[in-house]
């Protein structure tokens, strides 16, 4: 007997027709043979649906991330099919697990190797705040060394939470102004972390 989940309680007939998921077109003017919209909308749309994540997994959150990558939860549905392992190719670094102080410079270097625009996601209590490891050897949150865009709470977070976090990153990416990375405000943020 399988678990009583939504799928079992109210079975839905499978209907493949018309169920290929497509993103909605951005706002704009359309007419006979043309469509006009803002460049930033198109770039945002492209970026958010093809994020290449770099998993920086150091402990149990990494295991939960593997579940998220697997067929059951399947993070690939959100355009993150290509989990890459070179920072130079990636847009999003997912930091999962306890970061010891000795690991700090390594994480920072990996972040620096990523090309702009880059986003950071801190998964779990340890990456976000040090978690239960309130200790002299553990970094009390990765935001002490690199700027973080999205934090996922949990110890470890469930795959649903990871997916929710990824979708929050997608929102940020889709709405980001094309000039943000050149702005004085962003420069100040990087300066506060000692990043040129």
């Amino acid at each position: 007997m399988s678990r009583p989940v939504q799928f079992n309680i109210t079975p839905k007939p499978v209907d493949y027709n018309g169920h290929i998921s497509m993103v909605d077109a951005p706002e704009g003017h359309t007419g006979e043979g043309f469509f006009a919209t803002k460049l930033s909308e198109v770039v945002g749309l492209a970026r958010k649906n093809s994020l290449w994540p770099l998993p920086f997994a150091t402990s149990c959150c990494g295991i939960e991330f593997m579940a998220t990558m697997g067929s059951h939860y399947d993070i690939a549905r959100f355009g993150s099919e290509r989990i890459a392992f070179s920072p130079r190719q990636c847009d999003l670094i997912m930091v999962m697990g306890t970061i010891a102080k000795k690991m700090g410079p390594v994480l920072k270097q990996v972040y620096l190797q990523m090309a702009e625009p880059r986003w950071v996601l801190a998964m779990g209590a340890c990456a976000s705040s040090g978690g239960i490891f309130d200790s002299y050897s553990v970094l009390q949150g990765i935001d002490q060394i690199i700027p973080v865009d999205v934090y996922i709470p949990g110890c470890p977070p469930r795959p649903e939470a990871v997916i929710d976090g990824l979708m929050k990153v997608q929102d940020l990416v889709g709405k980001e102004s094309l000039r943000r990375r050149n702005s004085e405000h962003y420069q100040k943020l990087l300066d506060s972390y000692g990043i040129q």
Binding site: G130, D134, S135, Y136, V138, Q140
Partner: protein, 172 residues
């Protein structure tokens, strides 16, 4: 015939007399101590002797006893005789103000990293060690975190109830 704790003890007293002391057998494992200047001589004897043959250094670490004045730091060697499958524990004590102990790296190559770790956490200065620098903690660390006067908790946290986490407060 298998090597017994009694035989080891007799061998050691025969060789070093009154200088090896505090023999005991907690959980059946022979334990004793010697003055810190003698640590290499005792280890060499345990290594070289035809019947003792303690050729494997299983573990090496320190213990901090802040109330025991003049012998605050204990350096503990765990040795293993692989042929007879016998283990023993050997301690030397040192003053925390002059934590100089001779290195065992010439005798046991495995002592190299273990002594670095012991230095890293307790500040024991292993005289003659080829590369005595921090191994596990960040190089910038300016104290020896396992000494009792230093709290375990990260001191920069401001978002927790200090009384519960050893950062001052009324409970200590």
């Amino acid at each position: 015939m298998a090597l017994t704790n009694e035989q080891i003890q007799n061998k050691l007293t025969e060789k070093f007399g009154e200088q090896v002391t505090a023999f005991g057998e907690p959980y059946g494992m022979l334990t004793f101590e010697a003055p810190k200047d003698l640590n290499l001589k005792v280890l060499q004897f345990l290594f070289d002797d035809e019947t003792l043959r303690f050729k494997f250094l299983t573990d090496l670490q320190a213990v901090h006893y802040p109330t025991d004045k003049g012998r605050e730091l204990a350096v503990v060697y765990h040795l293993h005789n692989l042929q007879d499958n016998v283990r023993l524990r050997f301690k030397v004590f040192t003053d925390i103000n002059t934590p100089d102990v001779f290195t065992a790296t010439q005798l046991y190559a495995s002592a190299n990293w273990m002594e670095r770790e012991t230095y890293d956490f307790y500040g024991v200065n292993f005289v003659g060690h080829p590369n005595l620098k921090r191994i596990l903690n960040v190089d910038e660390m300016d104290y020896f975190p396992m000494r009792k006067e230093f709290p375990m908790e990260e001191q920069t946290r401001r978002d927790k109830d200090d009384e519960m986490f050893g950062r001052g407060g009324s409970v200590n």
